[in-house]
Symmetry: C2
Subunit: 188 residues, 2 copies
Amino acid sequence: MDKRELLLDTALRLFVEFGFHATPTSKIAKQAGIANGTLFYFFSTKDELIKALYVDIKSRMTAYILETIKDETSLYGIIKGYYSAPLYWALEHKTEFQFVTQFSNSPYLNQIAADEIQKHIQPFLDIITRGVQEGVLKPIDVDIIFALIRGHTFSINQYLIEKPFPKAEQDKVIDETFYLLWGMINNR
Amino acid sequence: MDKRELLLDTALRLFVEFGFHATPTSKIAKQAGIANGTLFYFFSTKDELIKALYVDIKSRMTAYILETIKDETSLYGIIKGYYSAPLYWALEHKTEFQFVTQFSNSPYLNQIAADEIQKHIQPFLDIITRGVQEGVLKPIDVDIIFALIRGHTFSINQYLIEKPFPKAEQDKVIDETFYLLWGMINNR
DNA sequence: TTAGTGACTGACTAAACAGTCACTAAAATA
DNA sequence: TATTTTAGTGACTGTTTAGTCAGTCACTAA
């Protein structure tokens, strides 16, 4: 791991544990075993570091999701992937997921360009639109369906964090909650 | 509005706009037109102010929800109330709701005693438990049902913020999304 | 009328902070 | 080999910060 990565990794853990306000750059550098000035060599300001961390994590998560669904052909399979892949990723990357949640619900999110966010969700919106057009999904506003699926993911992630299960049971929870979700949006 | 309230109100708006890290106590006092020292007369530290604000808002929201559902007798009505009342409250108190969201997803939440949180949600958990026992709700883990309802509320709140509708249409969205939610958890 | 109280003030301070800068050591390029 | 670029250092600084404190003032009640 090079020093830039090491800084990002250390910052991640400190931000999640103490919050942005209570994590000085000096503490990040010290804990990473890297000189103070090096942090500012890689990131011009503390805010830049925070934003870079978000973009970095977000793109890794997106890559994982796209990799997971790449062989799915049915709408059902793709939507299930978009629901469950983030959950599996979150279980393996708890701190990262928590950071993204923290960041997304803070005023920092406004500092990320709208199209940077849009580009991550657009493919999924297209899929939902197709689902509605083909009559597989209920004829509801696409943004509502999107919000519901995403909300479902966050809810169940929260549930799985608060009640840690063995792996096999986790899979069962994810499967069964998708079944509930699918029942809600699917056009029977 | 007395000075304590004025400070809380000013802090609320600044925290939501700039975040905890970028809102110094001096800025809060100045913007409220109150002396610096007065802030520390009412709140011993900045952290205390932040926590007091959370507790204050949370209890006002809970009071509103309980008031809304107090005459409901059916499980259907109560659960609908627990879903929709926060949404109506959030629409009238956007900044407050955003603050609670921001706070809840930050490490500050850990500083709030677990039983302080529990006391707000316990009555609702009891209702859900009754619903499952009576066979009105699907036989699923009560905490899952709770997580799903709460997640639904957050999702639709987000949707309503991003797509502002006229009042009549808002009501329609809330009603129809509750219908979807009810279909998912109700034991047909 | 005096003594006390609680709300409130704003100048002040010590510590902490983000960010700078002059400097190296090593690697890439010429 | 000589020169430039890149990665990295850590002591330093100017500013900002949370929090303090000595004191004012309106009011109360004995």
